[in-house]
Symmetry: C2
Subunit: 288 residues, 2 copies
């Protein structure tokens, strides 16, 4: 009922004063009435425009991590849009890890440090949507890790090696106490540390994104079958020794051999390799 009872031409203010609406329209379709030149066709949606403006301020360096945006009500007024649509934009940016919204007085929208875990989410989505396959992901991981070994041998510092050593200790403890699932988490941490030891955060981010998914499969496998990689810490120690010696060839060989054995373990029971099982639930340490 009460569909538009009037034809379209005259803007019908009805009860409310339409000043806000007109300003929003300016953003999108100004001059639609009598423009002789062709219009830019696609009516940008306001929330896209808002997102873009904020990202622009970011790229320009006007906004930096730690900065606070104006309060929603005020910012909405500044932009000439409704608070609801502004929130759609802010929410998108929050999901993208650019903003963090905090409640209460002194709250607001704060620019965040970049969250590298966002790339993990991209990988997950690509996998969920069938754009990439598990096989491609595993293959890419093997190759990237090979690269990481080279870089780590070249660049790893004392602190990096110590961190890896400490990780192996934790893994050993978890093994002795039979905490198999914790051990998987240790493994994930191991690769994260290894990637960090390259000294390149881009590489580290990439490695982490492909490793996170892989570890979900391992996790699911271990959780369901109870089996676990034998002689894990022993192999880790050998690898770390090679890394410390900057022996690229040996370290590379050891890692590749290990990755292959893990792969064999996973492929033993194809059922456990189900994408859905691995992606469905969220595990500790894998949440944003």
């Amino acid at each position: 009922m009460s569909t538009k009872s009037s034809p379209r031409a005259p803007r019908r203010p009805r009860t409310a004063s339409p000043n806000r609406r007109e300003r929003a329209s300016d953003l999108r379709t100004a001059g639609a009435a009598a423009a002789p030149t062709f219009k830019p066709i696609h009516t940008r949606r306001t929330f896209e425009e808002i997102c873009e403006r904020i990202r622009e301020q970011l790229a320009l360096g006007v906004l930096k991590p730690g900065d606070k945006l104006p309060a929603e009500r005020e910012l909405a007024q500044q932009l000439g849009v409704s608070r609801n649509v502004l929130r759609e934009a802010l929410r998108s940016l929050e999901m993208a890890g650019v903003l963090k919204l905090q409640k209460g007085v002194k709250g607001g929208a704060f620019i965040q440090q970049g969250d590298t875990r966002r790339m993990n989410e991209v990988m997950r989505d690509m996998l969920s949507l069938g754009t990439i396959s598990v096989r491609e992901l595993s293959e890419a991981r093997v190759h990237v890790l090979d690269l990481v070994v080279q870089l780590a041998c070249a660049n790893a510092r004392r602190a990096d090696l110590d961190a890896l050593e400490a990780n192996i200790e934790r893994t050993e403890l978890a093994t002795r106490e039979g905490r198999l699932l914790d051990r998987v988490e240790c493994s994930r941490e191991f690769y994260k540390l290894l990637a960090a030891s390259t000294g390149n955060k881009v590489i580290a981010m990439i490695v982490d994104s492909v490793t996170e998914i892989h570890m979900r499969f391992v996790y699911a496998k271990v959780a369901s079958s109870g089996v676990a990689m034998a002689r894990l810490t022993e192999k880790r120690r050998q690898f770390l020794a090679a890394l410390s010696e900057r022996d690229v060839a040996l370290a590379s060989r050891l890692l590749r051999s290990h990755l292959e054995s893990v792969q064999r373990m996973l492929e033993q029971d194809p059922g456990a390799m189900s994408l859905h099982v691995a992606l469905a639930d969220v595990q500790p340490g894998m949440r944003r």
Copy 2:
């Protein structure tokens, strides 16, 4: 708890009970009262929960690319949330490339094919936010491209090589006609094709994400200075020949040498390397 004994009119307009509201409140306050272990702090908001549920359906394979979600009004009712908050969730998912919203009758929220360009956006944000540096990005690009050459030599197929050949033709044409900026776009395409020739979409996605940013710098440099890489197509042909011969060593050497000369060109004028210049505006072919 969440039965707010509101002093005003009881909201009972809708058929659905506000169960969603109650559950959200439960999540927030459940652990606060009697939990012996510290709760995970995180305040769950409805739109997050909605996003997660939709992603869950995706991971489980219930939703697939091409599927359509119920209409906003209906889905909001099903979930027991307001339409506005549902839209916040849908918008986030749209920005994430998971959904596409289409207007009109027969419109709705459609699950998309995964958009690999999303990773580019992650890289851009990380750079904008200062989480990664241009140096790290360039370095990672060199290493990843080295890997790509190896894989391409092993896996490139006839069609891949032909596509690269065609790209070189276009580059040559653009060079002859003095369309320098188009030539930059050709270069970007070249690396995209090269990455695709590895046969691994994960690798391709990674390469594209690091190349896109790099090409913005090149673009800005070319646009401002008018200079352009000399003997570009000649070098491309040599490289392609090596690739066709599956000569990893030669192809790798040629590419690395080329990348170094480009890098030198960029570093000639540090001013042009400004992050802000490169990231600020959006170029053709680099929009989503």
